[in-house]
Amino acid sequence: MQQQQTDPLADNPFFVLGLAPDCSRQEIEREGQKLLGLLELGLSRAATYQTPLGPRERTPELVRGAMAELRDPKRRVVHELWADVAQATSVAHERAEQAQASPGEAPAWTDVWQLFDWRAP
């Protein structure tokens, strides 16, 4: 059983818990506890969760990890951004598939140089 690779889009804690990015702290605890209970009982309704990259398998480790991430206000902000990005670009999945089909056509990534105060080569 190989651990699936983490992905900020697919493993976004809001998606794992099935909650909106503006949910309250209490909702995170309540939903997390419920999902852990459902998973412990092996119930199908908790087995997968929806992401812009398609459905993913939900595990107790992912749920606990998601709860821990969203309890930390600083880390929650980052996940809120990612969840918003994913929702705003609802075509992300299709784009990924297109890019996979023709890698040469993937958008170039040039802004990274600015982050380092370097000139693009």
Binding site: D7, P8, L9, E40, L41, E61, A68, G104, F116
Partner: protein, 838 residues
């Protein structure tokens, strides 16, 4: 005797019948003293022992007839019958050290002695509450290593507990303090100065959720070090007054030193209440001379002078912890003091001065940890009462329930599933009713999987008992088993974070990280690894090791070996070739107890025995050599730092040098037969090694910056050409993290981020049309070094054919196989704890 036994049983039975709500037990198994507490969902009660005290000294005596005495009665013999009385064995937990009891001519392991203390506490609970607890939460220091946790669990098993969970001490303290606080919102710092260790934890409570933000500590600093500071002062006084020179490094002076240490501890406690004290040294044994009698005056001012540097060391840890988490000391809302030494006035004063907040009043620092552990037992649903099995109601339907045992939420969910249900007898609807009759849920349908989800309403700050009812039609009731369940409304505690990163050491001296520090426990993870050598079936000599390590470093040799899975040739069904796949799973429970397994799919064999789950031995010779080598390394590094004008390194080297000076005392005491000092020194060397490695890493900073620049250029270009959109986004994230690590000059973090970036670039580069061609050429150029030359040559031949046919999938398979046959550097493998996997 028989009658008495019967009476006890009937009393216990009576009490059990009256205990309608669960009871939760918490135990603080301390270095010097231990304590227990019982929580009933509303109140936490400290357990009193037979002497009426809430603290039981962690001391065990075994006399010539094998009679065992524990606690205060045993402590009286610690000095006058040292050969048959043992204390402070918690520091040796997880080591293979056997402790001898001379008169009975037996030895006991540290966990066996801890089990005696636990048995004694268990008996006290039975005497006071009428039941022998079966389940409990036992606290452990936050920085305990995995073998120490395993030894604690073993002690509990030996003491007769059916199930225990371990809890980090600072979380226990904060939980107890949070439970008693009226207004508990804000940031907490738990300052826990125990007998042997110091822990500082930063926590936050908000909306009833208690969250651990982080912790730091010093495994080598505790109240005992204060005692030693007084002992050293006493030795100087004795020399001055009598010209007799006693030394901690001489085995023949052990009896005198033990006596002085006890006097020092008493004086320290006395000076927490009084301004001065007289230390009466009577008949102090002096080898080859007359016993000494003298009286020495010690006042609080002198004590504080002796201890100030140690207290300030604890506060350095606190400020470092606050700084790491972006908190100014003034931003703290509460400071909770825990542990006996924390009652010293100088500790309270310095805490207030440095952390700018007065320690919280009204909490008993001695039983706080046990109280918190008892509350935690409630959150974990660990009812301590012996299992009572009432006759099930005929025709009742069993349900498997999942709900939080304790929750800050006033309306948590309860999830249930019918077990072994028969379609014509199973209930179609379920509801729950609170025992006060003031609330009930609506009837809820049982779904096609036999499951239901309900939301229940809790009364704040108390145990809420609910009855479950089932019905098949409006009139046909179905009895449910269990008929009731309890939820305590209180705090929700976040999952405890892992204190150190855990991974597997690889043959190239790197670490495959399984769980990063801070990962919420429990955790479980599996990785596919490959063997680096052939293990013949039936061979007794051939053992393939999978070392499990703890630490924050990329290089395995800098991390601590905490266990090892072994694939022994004698146990293999068939030969295990080099390059064979091994699925290695590591699991840690909420208390940090580790289990591991290795599955070899090709043989369908599982290996689960974790060997050598021990803290390594620390011989005086090795320690002395370590000391010399470290001192030499510091001198060299200082010279280089002066030459290169790296001021920060000079400061850190000075700090290391001052710690080396105090380590010299421990190494000398180890030579004098003090095994505890030897273990302390061993751990100190590991910490110092890691710090020195960090300084060396800092020395490489310009190279690392260059490496960062090159890696970013390469990864950006590769991802621009072959990356997917989400990889481009990941690149942005990683680039930001790299920039932050550069700004903070954090070499470790920079290395970590560069690894991530390299993986990202490497994934994208695989989409290059000739990616596998290039990889094959590189692997083929090293084929002459392969562990199996014939197989490697055959693969090279096959690869060339695949290139000619332009068969990329085949080329990829061949290249991967070829990689598995290429050897690791033997020196690296040795450093990597002789790992047999990669």
């Amino acid at each position: 005797m028989v009658r008495r036994h019967k009476r006890e049983n009937s009393d216990t039975l009576l009490t059990r019948m009256t205990l309608t709500t669960p009871r939760y037990v918490g135990i603080d198994l301390g270095t010097t003293n231990s304590a227990a507490a019982v929580f009933d969902g509303e109140q936490v009660t400290a357990v009193r022992n037979a002497q009426g005290a809430s603290l039981t000294p962690s001391v065990v005596r075994i006399d010539g007839r094998g009679n065992i005495t524990v606690g205060a009665r045993a402590r009286r013999y610690l000095e006058r019958d040292a050969k048959n009385t043992r204390g402070e064995f918690k520091r040796l937990m997880g080591t293979s050290q056997d402790l001898a009891f001379a008169s009975a001519d037996i030895t006991r392991k540290p966990e066996e002695l801890s089990a005696e203390v636990l048995k004694s506490l268990r008996k006290d609970i039975e005497d006071q509450f009428g039941f022998a607890p079966q389940r409990a939460v036992i606290s452990v220091p936050a920085l305990f290593e995995l073998p120490q946790n395993a030894a604690t669990s073993e002690a509990a098993r030996l003491a007769g507990f059916e199930q225990v969970e371990l809890l980090q001490e600072p979380i226990a303290s904060a939980l107890a303090a949070g439970w008693s606080a009226e207004e508990s919102a804000g940031s907490w710092l738990v300052y826990d100065l125990g007998g042997g260790t110091f822990d500082a934890s930063l926590l936050e409570t908000r909306d009833g959720l208690l969250r651990v933000i982080g912790h730091d500590g010093d495994n080598f600093l505790g109240g005992r070090d204060f005692d030693w500071a007084i002992v050293d002062w006493l030795l100087a006084q004795i020399k001055q007054q009598t010209e007799v020179e006693l030394s901690r490094s001489k085995p023949e002076h052990t009896a005198a030193i033990t006596r002085l240490k006890q006097l020092a501890e008493e004086a320290k406690i006395e000076l927490s209440r009084n301004e001065s004290t007289e230390i009466a040294i009577i008949e102090l044994p002096v080898p080859g001379g007359d016993p000494l009698d003298l009286e020495v005056s010690l006042d609080r001012e002198m004590l504080e002078t002796l201890c100030l540097a140690l207290v300030d060391r604890t506060l350095d840890v606190c400020t470092r912890l606050c700084k790491t988490h972006g908190l100014d000391p003034g931003g703290l809302h509460h400071v909770v003091l825990v542990g006996g030494p924390s009652v010293m006035p100088i500790v309270r004063r310095r805490v207030q001065q440095v952390l700018q907040v007065a320690p919280t009043e009204g909490l008993d620092p001695m039983t706080l940890v046990a109280r918190g552990a008892a509350i935690y037992a409630a959150t974990a649903g660990l009812d301590a009462r012996p299992e009572s099995r009432p006759e099930p109601v005929p025709e009742s339907q069993r349900v498997w329930l999942q709900h939080p045992a304790m929750s800050s939420d006033l309306t948590p969910h309860v999830v249930g599933k019918l077990v072994d249900s028969e379609p014509d007898k199973a209930p179609g609807e379920i509801r729950v009713l609170r025992s006060d009759g003031l609330w009930e849920s609506p009837w809820t349908e049982v779904d096609e999987e036999g499951a239901f989800v309900l939301s229940v309403t809790l009364i704040p700050r108390r145990p809420n008992i609910f009855r479950i009812e089932g019905r098949r039609g409006p009139e046909q009731k179905v009895a449910i088993e269990p008929p009731t369940f309890t939820i305590v409304q209180g705090l929700t505690i976040s999952d405890p974070p892992l204190s150190r990163t855990v991974g597997v050491a690889l043959a190239n001296n790197r670490v495959r990280v399984y769980f990063e520090r801070g990962a919420p426990l429990p955790v479980r993870r599996t990785f596919n690894l490959r063997t680096v050598e052939t293990v013949p079936a039936g061979s007794e000599e051939c053992i393939l090791k999978i070392p499990i390590v703890q630490g924050e470093f990329d290089d395995a040799h800098l991390c601590r070996l905490v266990g090892s899975l072994e694939l022994r040739g004698e146990k293999l069904k068939q030969h295990l070739p080099a390059g064979a796949e091994v699925e290695v799973t590591i699991e840690l429970d909420r208390g940090g107890r580790m289990s591991a397994r290795a599955l070899v799919p090709s043989l369908d064999q599982v290996f689960e025995q974790v060997a050598h789950l021990l803290v390594p031995e620390a011989t005086p010779e090795v320690l002395a050599a370590n000391l010399e080598a470290t001192q030499q390394r510091v001198i060299e590094l200082r010279a280089e730092a002066f030459q290169a004008k790296i001021i920060s390194a000079i400061g850190r080297l000075n700090s290391i040098e001052s710690r080396l000076a105090s380590l010299e005392t421990d190494v000398a005491a180890a030579a004098g037969g003090d095994t505890d000092a030897a273990q302390k020194a061993r751990r100190a060397f590991l910490e110092l090694d890691a710090e020195i490695e960090q300084i060396e890493l800092d020395k490489r900073w310009p190279e690392l910056e260059e490496e960062a620049r090159e890696t970013v250029i390469w990864a950006s270009a590769t991802i621009a050409d072959f990356g997917l959109p989400h990889e481009a986004k990941l690149l942005t994230d990683t680039a930001k993290a790299i920039e932050q690590a550069k700004n903070n000059r954090d070499a470790l973090e920079l290395q970590r981020q560069l690894r991530l970036l390299a993986r990202l670039g490497s994934t994208a580069s695989l989409r290059h049309p000739h990616a596998w061609h290039h990889r094959f050429e590189r692997a083929a150029s090293k084929a002459d070094q392969a562990t199996d030359l014939v197989a490697a040559q055959a693969l090279v031949k096959e690869g060339k054919v695949a290139i000619n046919k332009d068969d990329v999938p085949a080329l990829r398979r061949i290249t991967q196989k070829l990689w598995q046959l290429l050897p690791d550097d033997p020196e690296d493998r040795k450093l990597g704890h002789n790992s047999g996997v990669r």
